[in-house]
């Protein structure tokens, strides 16, 4: 493997690169292997340059210093140079290439992967048509504050384009299309520029708020031999996350301790396992209820201080609290106000909070606001707004609360905590009674589906990688979520088509830890890009997919019925354009066609338990499996 013309040697270089992922300053082997150009051979139609290396080899050297494990991509000629270098020069390891059937799947896979693994996956796409496919998934990741490392192929120089495809696939400013919902991008014009921007992009993506970043790999830079002198790769330095101002944190502690009944609303809090520990400690110290919006695995669902464990998790009732600590909460205005049910001019709204309640916000999103897309939500008139990453700010807040806590106050808080715990326990028991309704129904109730699943996985090292709101949050209400990988939240931008590929990406991250990945898969979502099932089969990614097959884009069907009722119209027609029946879609056959173990449609609840058992056996053996379960709407 060592190159006789290269005094460093590739193996030695890569060893140093791997060891120093976060502390490497290196002279690349490519730079040391520069040769005088040979005359191209004639007659072959291809210029052969046997003793030279393409710029894309150096790009691979750069990427290998970042510790990225996988590249998800649908192949595209604008990044063919990089792909060839990754699979040959890079030996298709660290990162390994994942074959995807759609760019939206590539990005959503990276989205799900990052929420389990805590770091970005790379995706590659054409700067034009590939990025157009990928754009919705990028928007989801942006709204969900998730890092994705996006590399786009493009040919900037007109003299380097050949044929129609390369003209229609070329663009002046490739990243422009997604600049409104990515955190940073660059289009390097030299290899040294590329190295610096590649390292910078990783740092920016992984500094809270985490977000997608874009790097454009120019075709000429990829495919032409390296000619630059003294190429080096800057060392990757990870920035400390932004922490809230100390004075403001002390004031927050005072407000929370002075309150009779404070509540913590947890949106996107836990970036790492430490985040869960911090939130538990704060709740325990304050003996305050935690309303987890389930954007992340923030707080153990069986904790006595867990918020009202009902169906309305995303929109908790905050009316009984006199202090609200909102930690990167989603739609805080929406959960502190009540609005007219249907959109109309002159919509009425009124606060639902207790008069005089203090609202405290902690969020790093303020550091990355953009104007075009409106994901920031309605302006909140907080009493104290702290700019900072919640997970990074919590330790100081905990200490500030402890400092102010007197023995008398501690006793009072314990009494409050005991009351919350009793209410919580009663709520959990009530959920079981509610789950019993429609227990034997066909289509199968989502409560039964969730209870059957729990029975099969509760003694395994499991990971639920799907949003459970579409099944009336039954897993949250019945299962015991406690570990960081037990839940990963939802799409972020409410863009459908996320679930199946995000689940595959999350399952890939879980694979090396030997976890049992469970995906409750909505039927409408799977139909966007079902080819990701093949990706799971091809790359032997074990995961259990259980269809929540209500045979509709049901959320939209409900909206049509609502509007129909507003004008006294035929509500039965809400099926038009929303129902997925006539013919019913046979998801088991589709999955089998993509190479998965599959069963279904399952309509009798008595058949579900045994089918789950069979499927889990296959998953434990290393396969992806799918059960098509015909379900109640929600």
């Amino acid at each position: 493997m060592s190159d006789s013309k290269n005094p460093v040697g590739r193996r030695g270089f890569l060893k140093r690169a791997a060891a120093g992922g976060a502390g490497l300053a290196a002279t690349a082997p490519i730079a040391l292997a520069q040769q005088a150009a040979l005359k191209p051979e004639t007659g072959s139609g291809v210029d052969v340059t046997p003793n030279l290396r393409p710029g894309s080899d150096f790009m691979v050297d750069v990427f290998k210093t970042l510790g990225i494990e996988y590249i998800a991509a649908n192949p595209g000629s604008s990044f063919r140079g990089l792909q060839e270098s990754f699979i040959n020069y890079g030996k298709n390891t660290s990162p390994e290439w994942l074959t995807c059937c759609h760019e939206e799947s590539s990005v959503a896979m990276a989205h799900g992967y990052a929420k389990i693994e805590g770091k970005p996956m790379m995706i590659m796409a054409h700067g034009t048509v590939g990025l157009q496919h990928a754009s919705m998934a990028i928007y989801n990741a942006y709204c969900d504050r998730v890092p994705v490392y996006i590399v786009l192929g493009n040919i900037l120089d007109v003299n380097y384009r050949r044929g129609t495809a390369e003209w229609v696939h070329s663009v002046q400013d490739a990243a422009a299309m997604v600049r409104d919902y990515t955190k940073w991008d660059d289009t390097p014009v030299s290899l040294s520029h590329f190295a610096e921007s590649a390292v910078r992009a990783y740092n920016i993506s992984m500094t809270p708020p985490y977000e997608p970043v874009v790097l454009v790999a120019d075709g000429t830079l990829q495919e032409e031999p390296v000619t630059e002198k003294s190429l080096r790769i800057p060392k990757l330095v990870m920035s400390a996350p932004p922490q809230g101002d100390s004075g403001a944190v002390a004031e927050a502690a005072r407000l929370l301790l002075n309150a009779e009944n404070p509540v913590i609303v947890a949106g996107r809090v836990a970036r790492t396992p430490k985040g869960i520990e911090h939130l538990v400690e704060l709740a325990d110290v304050l003996q305050a209820r935690v309303q987890d919006q389930r954007m992340r695995m923030n707080f153990p669902s069986a904790h006595p201080l867990y918020g009202h464990p009902g169906a309305g998790i995303a929109t908790p009732n905050l009316s009984e609290h006199d202090a609200i600590l909102a930690l990167e909460a989603q739609d805080l205005w929406g959960i502190t106000h009540k609005m007219t049910g249907l959109n109309k001019f002159g919509m009425e709204s009124q606060p639902t909070t207790k008069p005089g309640a203090k609202v405290i916000t902690v969020s790093a999103i303020d550091l990355n606001h953009k104007s075009n897309y409106q994901d920031f939500g309605r302006y909140v008139e907080a009493d104290l707004a702290i700019t900072g990453d919640p997970e990074a700010t919590l330790p100081e807040l905990i200490e500030a609360v402890k400092k102010l806590l007197t023995p008398d106050r501690r006793r009072a808080l314990q009494e409050r905590g005991a009351k919350i715990a009793a209410e919580n326990q009663a709520g959990r028991m009530r959920n079981r009674e509610l789950a019993a309704i429609a227990w034997d129904a066909s289509p199968i109730s989502t409560a039964r589906l969730s209870a059957e699943l729990w029975a099969q996985i509760k003694n395994e090292d499991w990971s639920l990688v799907s949003n459970d709101r579409f099944v009336s949050s039954w897993p949250t209400r019945l299962w015991d979520f406690s570990k960081p990988y037990h839940y990963i939240g939802a799409q972020g931008g409410a863009g459908i088509g996320y679930q199946a590929p995000a689940a595959v990406g999350a399952a890939l991250a879980n694979k090396k830890h030997g976890r049992l990945t469970v995906n409750i898969q909505c039927d409408g979502d799977l139909n966007y890009a079902p080819g990701v099932l093949w990706t799971a089969a091809h790359h032997k990614i074990p995961m259990l997919n259980v269809m929540h097959n209500n045979r509709a884009y049901h959320e939209e069907r409900m909206y049509l019925a609502l509007l129909g009722a507003k004008y006294d119209r035929d509500l039965g027609r809400s099926d038009i354009g929303t129902a997925l029946n006539g013919p019913n879609i046979d998801y088991a056959s589709i999955a089998k066609g993509y190479g998965l173990y599959a069963e279904g449609p399952i309509t009798d609840p008595k058949d579900l338990g045994p089918a789950l058992k069979r499927a889990i056996e296959r998953v434990k053996a290393g396969e992806p499996a799918l059960l098509d379960v015909v379900t109640q709407p929600r």
Partner: protein, 112 residues
């Protein structure tokens, strides 16, 4: 809230005076045709989008008042043009006919 309860009572007395006994089988058909199941589930079990209706404790008068004039934000009003009083009585008969569930303690999967 008091106003709302009063509305229930007044509307209820009126409705009670006018309504015939409901036909549960027709009510089931209407429950599906008129999209009730979409939010409340085919068995009226409720969920994230709609309240539990099965085994409702509401008397018909209150049920009818709610459906005709729901509190703001809870659900759209279903007026007589969409469902007549008789049809509403049929739907009510259907949700009252849904069998009581077993107690959770008698279901092994809900005892853990």
């Amino acid at each position: 809230m008091r106003k709302f309860i009063l509305l229930f009572v007044v509307a209820g007395i009126t409705a009670l005076a006018q309504t015939k006994a409901g036909d549960a089988a027709n009510g089931k058909r209407l429950f599906e045709k008129n999209a009730c199941y979409q939010c409340h589930g085919y068995w009226g079990q409720g969920g994230v989008a709609g309240a539990r209706l099965a085994q409702t404790k509401l008397p018909f008068v209150a049920f009818s008042a709610f459906v005709r004039n729901p509190p703001s934000g809870s659900m759209p009003p279903f007026r007589a043009k969409v469902m007549s009083d008789q049809e509403l009585a049929d739907v009510y008969a259907y949700i009252k006919s849904i069998p009581e569930p077993k107690p959770a303690k008698d279901i092994p999967l809900l005892n853990y």
